[in-house]
Symmetry: D3
Subunit: 239 residues, 6 copies
Amino acid sequence: MPRAEGRKNDQLRPVKITRGFTKNALGSALIENGNTVVLCTASCEERVPFHLRGKHCGWVTGEYSMLPGSTKVRSPREAARGRQGGRTMEIQRLIGRSLRSSVNLEALGERTFTVDCDVLQADGGTRCASITGGFVALIDAINKLKASNKITGEPVIQQIAAVSVGIVSDEIMLDIDYSEDQYAQTDMNFVMTEHGKIIEVQGTAEAKVFSLDELVEMTKLAQAGIAELTDLQTQALSQ
Amino acid sequence: MPRAEGRKNDQLRPVKITRGFTKNALGSALIENGNTVVLCTASCEERVPFHLRGKHCGWVTGEYSMLPGSTKVRSPREAARGRQGGRTMEIQRLIGRSLRSSVNLEALGERTFTVDCDVLQADGGTRCASITGGFVALIDAINKLKASNKITGEPVIQQIAAVSVGIVSDEIMLDIDYSEDQYAQTDMNFVMTEHGKIIEVQGTAEAKVFSLDELVEMTKLAQAGIAELTDLQTQALSQ
Amino acid sequence: MPRAEGRKNDQLRPVKITRGFTKNALGSALIENGNTVVLCTASCEERVPFHLRGKHCGWVTGEYSMLPGSTKVRSPREAARGRQGGRTMEIQRLIGRSLRSSVNLEALGERTFTVDCDVLQADGGTRCASITGGFVALIDAINKLKASNKITGEPVIQQIAAVSVGIVSDEIMLDIDYSEDQYAQTDMNFVMTEHGKIIEVQGTAEAKVFSLDELVEMTKLAQAGIAELTDLQTQALSQ
Amino acid sequence: MPRAEGRKNDQLRPVKITRGFTKNALGSALIENGNTVVLCTASCEERVPFHLRGKHCGWVTGEYSMLPGSTKVRSPREAARGRQGGRTMEIQRLIGRSLRSSVNLEALGERTFTVDCDVLQADGGTRCASITGGFVALIDAINKLKASNKITGEPVIQQIAAVSVGIVSDEIMLDIDYSEDQYAQTDMNFVMTEHGKIIEVQGTAEAKVFSLDELVEMTKLAQAGIAELTDLQTQALSQ
Amino acid sequence: MPRAEGRKNDQLRPVKITRGFTKNALGSALIENGNTVVLCTASCEERVPFHLRGKHCGWVTGEYSMLPGSTKVRSPREAARGRQGGRTMEIQRLIGRSLRSSVNLEALGERTFTVDCDVLQADGGTRCASITGGFVALIDAINKLKASNKITGEPVIQQIAAVSVGIVSDEIMLDIDYSEDQYAQTDMNFVMTEHGKIIEVQGTAEAKVFSLDELVEMTKLAQAGIAELTDLQTQALSQ
Amino acid sequence: MPRAEGRKNDQLRPVKITRGFTKNALGSALIENGNTVVLCTASCEERVPFHLRGKHCGWVTGEYSMLPGSTKVRSPREAARGRQGGRTMEIQRLIGRSLRSSVNLEALGERTFTVDCDVLQADGGTRCASITGGFVALIDAINKLKASNKITGEPVIQQIAAVSVGIVSDEIMLDIDYSEDQYAQTDMNFVMTEHGKIIEVQGTAEAKVFSLDELVEMTKLAQAGIAELTDLQTQALSQ
């Protein structure tokens, strides 16, 4: 089964990152990864969670949601159901941990950055796109505070991005889309620095266990994909 | 106090309606009304609410949300708080009632259309933009079911749109934006047909009561604005 | 279709307002509007919502509920369901806005008045009866604080009441009851001052759109009804 | 410390039961016990809880609420808080169990009676007043179904009522009011038949343990009070 | 119908109390009452509920839960359902009131003890076992604070335990198990001091009313059972 | 910094698995991993989630909770807060996915196994202990249904267990406890078969990124630990 549009196993879908897609939030980026589209905004409040008060330390957190109309079968609105589902919780905890690893919290000052990742259209890989786009929105917001001298010094300690890798029909493939995900034996998500160092790895054998050798091969494929994504982030931030 | 960008009291902000902005939902429209941006999608399920089962009748409902990053001060995510606020409930009830008035529910068949209005950027008038854009998304969805012969006959009975009118500094103004709304004495929302007949009227004297004469004048201004908006809807649906 | 008990189109149902129906709340009024019966109580707390603290300004808010046994088919208890429905939220926001318009919040001092409107028996027009009766309960409470010199000066800036108007079988009728409401083409609610100035107007075309001329005629009918209701309020408050 | 208004230790407060206080619910009674006022309504649905379906058996359940304005310090509305408190749950379970004991569930047919007890004014003893008044509302509803031949045979197996007894300043007193309850060493509630047989007994030593002898004496006092209350119920039901 | 394992009507099931079953909580006891097994832990926080702040007074509260796997038919997890049921609320209020009666709150200092009673295995009498075991956990915790001189003086004013008594087949039986409870006419729970003075009494006639004479007999049986239980508590605390 | 009790980096804490610790649930196991103690029970219902009905397929799900008294600082009870936290959701999704991978769902018949993992005492590694112990409880339950011929054939397709690995002070360590976890640079959890094939891998760089080489080394250490754990499971199941 060849990939859609003749894509190679080690090839990302087309990725486009538009910084400043919306204007009200302090930082903003729209990331399009194939047909997956996520609007990431970063807002800043001059206070920190209770357990950090008075510790001269900032905080970064993430929230995630799929718009009801982002999927072919409508996804019920979590606000109407009265609670966020387990998948949402799991993803937004991942986003928050990943983004926090990219900054020196003490250099942020006593303020909280909330990075909201709202999926406008879903075609697989929404959590990875959220992290990759969310990093751009976060840095966009931090840069504005640096420009207005609210933040002095450099809070960013490493650049991060995320990508998925799957095993489909016994082949290892980069950046699987929704149709591939449906048939994947294994689905892994990697968050890495621009140098390929690992921040988060999450892998699930959906239909067939995998070996250490396969884990190594998947990690290498992810490293290559992450390098491309961090280049695109850099471009978006420099425009 | 002149209006921003030299706008006249009877002038709408620039309005742009993009049909098909996203692909997964059956119907979709992005409406930009000045800096207010709302993504409207229409999804369809082959079932109806409990009280309509077996009555050969369809249903149309609306849901509304502001993305947390749509406002300058971040709006807390209602799914995280565990419930929708009163303002959200009030607005989505208005959207649902308005859209239902535009169709013959029996001609829809036993199916439910849910029109989701998610505000990407808020600058006043989000409920009116949701109705105006939501109508396009709904008709876009209905047209697809007509094209595939799932719906025969014509369920649409009238074209509808919505606009706000305010009294600011004793002057009556069409389509007030967020900065004007902050100082408005009166804030009214009108939902009307393309012929200026009234479907919903909601007016609140924020700071100063108003007279019947003012109510008449505001209604006339709304009728003119609605006529422009229904023209733009027609263009978006014919492209 | 003649109205029940030979009522004319411009005639209110019999209205009775009993101030002081209960004793524990600071202010209290039972309003009977035909078979609609609402118990309104006004309580006062010596604090204000977070966003008003330290601003030398009071607050007035409203809450609304239908007792489960107030309707022929029992209405599920919202506390047992774990949340207030959209209709309840919409109505209590209307009550709160209306009552706030009647007072000078600064003259109240840093205290919050909560006006609870609990429907003991429902036969149409419960939100209007809540506002008309709620005003009496609120003033009853304010008068007690004035009598004990906790409030000096006069916080009341205008007298308000509310009434519904409907179009049934193409006829415009004042103060429609539940049986009429079931068949109404249009259902409007007006909140006005004793001089017929408008504070809130909410109208919905249930089955048939309406014209500006009809809007004008409905407003005039409401003005006449409001004048009668404010007289009855004055009597209840002077006893 | 003498009791208010010279009441003796074995004396009830004045009790008045008005059957048919409201008209929409199938059964209705307003009970006034001194300054405690509870509106009890009984509604009937032609279905039973899931676990009873198909068992030719009915159900009786109770719900309880204090209106926010029923107390001198306003009681927050449970529907607004999003859940019923522990005290409410405890009381409504007691009401339901007590009322179920008075009827033969099989003779009710496959229908559910819900007895709603809403406290309009609270001055101690609201749970007992709810049971005493709730019994009248329930029988009122059952009588209507008997009159319309929906229920044949006699579902009522015993008459029940409830009363509180307290130990205040080492004296045992019947039907304690709120001011006495504040100082009570022990607070007990009894639900009994008209013959003084016990259905429920709940006693709490608030400040000082009590002995078996005191338990016996309190029970006897309750038996006398219950006999008066069941007479009043009988009168209300025969009018 | 003889009791299981030849037990006499006035005989407790075998009871074993293991103090210190877990190590992280300040106080801990596992109580086995026949096949009923409850893990009781007591934790201490250096703060009190809002209404007690600054009053030089401590607080004791109880929480109760049945593990889903504690019953033959799995009990749904209340955290997953999003709320605690009425039975849970009723029981934990009873636990809290009972344990508070055993101590002088002022001698605790401004701290809150929370006694968690989690049922590992349920075979009837779980609320009584929770109180009997919870007392041991609470005293275990208090003793540790006394040993570290955080508490000086003696907060314990009386020893308490709880036991159930039932009427099954017209016979009065001590400490009924689940199989007996299913057929009980009456189910009573007593909380008493080591001297047989009453703290709480709760009795429900499940299938048949009971008399004052039966109430007296049940109370005497409970007094004998409580005396045995308080001996076992003393042993557990002295080891 | 040497490990507690002289433990080597590749050494598990003492592990003890007690099958049948409680009797009411169909399957049961208590797992003690050092001071971490988790009670795992497996219950079975003769029905499946909605989306599986009629598909001749069973289901396995997991639920997880920490008892409030399981930690030194009391963990608030999620049922009382009204919702499960993100960490709980994340863990129970992991437990469910892992256990499902060990069985052929079709061979279970149309029934749901719920494996409840309740942490009685927490000292790090509770999610891994839940999976390792939960597997024993699940197989215990399946074996009972096989013994009673409700399940024929063999649903178990592979044995699974879980273990954590951490990087602490730049050293890779197996089965880290709570005190080590506090200082870990990296915290990874592995779920594997008895042959060291990977089912789930989740790793987080808490304080310092890690390399592919470290990932490989951690995986190998986990494989050795898993082999020991699956031996202990086999012993517990054969007793």
